[in-house]
């Protein structure tokens, strides 16, 4: 088997992964980094983020305000030392990105412009029209091409972590083009593989968001933290789930029901003065309640409400929200200059993920994680919009720096046992590829998983359906082991990738369901109809789910509360 050796391996080439790679080679001019991604990096899902990246910029804003907004937005489950570090370094990161060429939108005097965003008490969201993720990702990717010591392994799918004596020393990656697995060794591994929105049927996420890194860490014995907190973005297109950015509300858009009423203003949904700019979890719940009360509009992909931008006028829409207009026309058949856009809450972001500390280190030496795939935790029970793009940069950079510092001091270990593990993994993949007898189609299992997760772990959850999801996921795990493949070829076999991704998703979905069923309170984006209030006495902690052969094991981890004591979350 072919072996590649580097100082450090990064899995996932999106915002966090690319930022970490650049941080590594800038921290250590001699370091060689493998950037391993199952797609070419410019296809990473960071590209679809639209609204903006937050950092304190205006004179009437302060780090303390950003800190408080984020902690309150997290429903007090965020680790406050992480949030402090985050707000402290946000401006630096976005400035660095500007130096690298990111085309931030500007005020007339040439300064970077900022817009309002949900849950933020001051305008602090930097933006590039409404394609911020696209510009950030392309800026990072193009800048990363400057460094010859970032060695890219494009279209290589990591299937296993290589561990020797309880320390991570590399990965096994399936070369998608050749259909051959390889060992890529490094003295540290950073997982930056993004979230797992595809566990659900309606999501803003692209098809590649299948929780691969989370599953890798989970199976290696690392805990997944706060998995029950799945963010439903209030304004996705019905059916496709395509994202209509929060910036459309930030620029003044209204959310209206079937009667044309701005129900976030006229009815009490807890968002107070903020109305459409309340935090995402509250707005998503408000929309679902309006629909349940019969004030939604019927559609073939479920009932929806509407986002009205008409009063903004064509000029403002074309200047600030041109992509929103294109998306609405292409995928919803409406022109937002003249018609309201149909929207409903869709799965968007995972607040939870791989349990890491503020350095991005996991409990497994040599293994790090950053970005959406990690749970530092910066976002607690609910993330504020425009915090996650900045999070990718801030924690991508820090994790890269910490990981290379660790790797410099770590030993490369004994290769022989690592290669043996890699050979076993190669055999496992070959067996999967050759499997032709018995079993179901991949799409069938995937649909059942998604349907169950929608029913059990939706915007509003109930104990009974959550328990049912737990049961179904455990059963699906067994069925995934019996999958049928039609594609036996080696060259660019995408069916085997889909099968591997499905196995990852089922594992991750199981942790979501288990964690959700165990949290008998409502907090942030976890709204439980059987326990409607927040219970700080018993549940002010992070949930942790660990893999065990007999079934996931639950435990807790305390929240780091430094100076903002939990209070009632009112807006």
């Amino acid at each position: 088997m072919e072996v590649f050796r580097h100082d450090l391996v990064i899995v996932g080439g999106g915002g966090a992964g690319l930022r970490a790679a650049i941080a590594v080679v800038e921290a250590d001019p001699k370091a060689s980094v493998a950037l391993v991604s199952k797609v070419y990096p410019m296809r990473s899902h960071t590209v679809s983020a639209e609204g903006g990246a937050a950092a304190v910029a205006a004179p009437d804003d302060s780090l303390e305000m950003h800190f408080k907004d984020t902690v309150k937005g997290s429903d007090f489950l965020a680790d406050q030392d992480c949030v402090d570090y985050f707000v402290d370094h946000a401006v630096e990161e976005l400035t660095l990105l500007e130096h690298w060429g990111c085309p931030w939108s500007r005020d007339a005097d040439g300064r970077v412009a900022v817009r309002a965003f949900g849950g933020m008490t001051a305008k602090r969201t930097w933006y590039a029209a409404d394609k911020v993720g696209f510009h950030m990702l392309h800026t990072l990717f193009q800048t990363s091409m400057r460094y010859d010591r970032i060695v890219r392994y494009d279209e290589q799918f990591v299937t296993k972590l290589l561990i020797e004596d309880g320390v991570v020393k590399g990965v096994v990656a399936l070369d998608v083009r050749e259909g051959v697995p390889r060992a890529i060794l490094g003295r540290a591994v950073i997982l930056t593989t993004g979230g797992a929105g595809k566990c659900f049927p309606f999501t803003t996420n692209g098809t590649i968001k299948t929780g691969d890194g989370m599953a890798l860490a989970y199976r290696a014995g690392v805990g997944l933290k706060d998995m029950e907190f799945v963010q439903y973005h209030p304004t996705g297109l019905p059916g496709t789930g395509i994202l209509i950015t929060e910036a459309s509300r930030g620029e003044g858009g209204y959310v209206i029901n079937s009667e044309g009423e701005r129900f976030l203003v006229t009815r009490d949904y807890g968002v107070g003065q903020k109305a459409e700019l309340g935090p995402r979890d509250m707005i998503s719940r408000a929309i679902m309640l309006e629909i349940a009360a019969g004030r939604g509009i019927k559609g073939s992909y479920g009932d929806f409400v509407q986002l009205d931008l008409r009063h903004l006028g064509e000029a403002k829409i074309m200047e600030r929200l041109p992509f929103v207009r294109t998306l609405a026309r292409t995928y919803a058949g409406v022109d937002p200059v003249f018609q309201p856009i149909p929207i409903r809450p869709v799965v968007h972001y995972m607040m939870g993920g791989i349990d890491t500390d503020i350095d991005g280190a996991t409990t497994l030496p040599g293994l790090y994680a950053a970005g959406e795939t990690a749970c530092v935790s910066m976002n607690g029970a609910n993330r504020l919009g425009s915090n996650s793009l900045t999070e990718c940069l801030v924690f991508g950079a820090r994790t890269g720096q910490k990981a290379i510092a660790y790797a410099r001091g770590a030993s490369a270990g004994n290769e022989a046992p690592l290669l043996r593990q890699a050979q076993e993994e190669a055999a496992r993949i070959e067996e999967l590829r050759g499997r032709r007898k018995g079993g179901e189609r991949i799409a069938q299992i995937r649909r059942e998983m998604q349907k169950t997760m929608e029913e059990g772990c939706g915007v509003y959850r109930e104990q009974a359906s959550m328990q049912e999801s737990v049961r179904v996921m455990a059963q699906l795990r067994g069925r995934v082991a019996d999958l049928q493949l039609e594609d036996a070829s080696k060259v660019f076999n995408t069916e085997i990738l889909t099968a591997l991704e499905l196995a990852n998703m089922v594992d991750v979905a199981e942790t979501i369901a288990v964690a959700a069923a165990a949290r008998r309170e409502s907090r942030g984006s976890h709204a439980c109809n059987d326990y409607k209030t927040r219970n700080d006495q018993e549940f002010l902690h992070h949930s942790l789910v660990h893999f065990e052969p007999g079934g996931p094991r639950l435990s807790q981890k305390p929240v780091n509360i430094t100076r903002f004591q939990p209070e009632e979350r009112k807006y």
Binding site: D175, R177, E178, V491, F492
Partner: protein, 146 residues
């Protein structure tokens, strides 16, 4: 169905790790209306080549004395030459219209310290220049002006 193109089109610097099918274009690629218009535009280059040869011929005749010159003018009365000049006129119009249409967007935001004028102004200037030149040539060569 498809047609081959240069076998090295879009080839990577390092040979790929698996055998690939060679690059190709679909059957209607070269015959699609828009592509055909472009190819005609490109093909007018042949007329300019021929005009260039003709100019050499004229220069040679000019240098060979009055009889040669009169003989050339006699030849030019042949309908074939008239037809050729009509073809040249058509080519110039084809190229002019297409080129003038595309020319404004080929102006960068700034050329050194100079900011090119907006599209419609450039169009106006180009057509005005073309018109003035044509008028001038007709007047001079047609004998209307000394």
């Amino acid at each position: 169905m498809s047609r081959p193109v240069n076998p090295h089109a879009m080839a990577p610097a390092r040979a790929g790790s698996t055998r690939t099918a060679p690059p190709s274009v679909p059957d209607g690629f070269w015959s699609a209306p828009r592509m055909r218009r472009y190819l005609i535009f490109d093909a007018t280059g042949i007329t300019y080549l021929l005009i260039g040869l003709l100019i050499l011929r004229v220069a040679w005749a000019l240098g060979s004395g009055p009889e040669a010159w009169q003989a050339l003018l006699q030849q030019f009365r042949h309908p074939a030459y008239l037809g050729f000049h009509l073809l040249v006129l058509l080519s110039v119009i084809v190229v002019g219209l297409r080129f003038f249409g595309l020319f404004p967007k080929a102006q960068p935001p700034k050329i050194g310290p100079v900011t090119p004028p907006p599209g419609p102004v450039i169009h106006a200037m180009l057509y005005a220049a073309w018109g003035a030149l044509t008028l001038g040539l007709v007047l001079v060569l047609g004998g209307f002006l000394p």
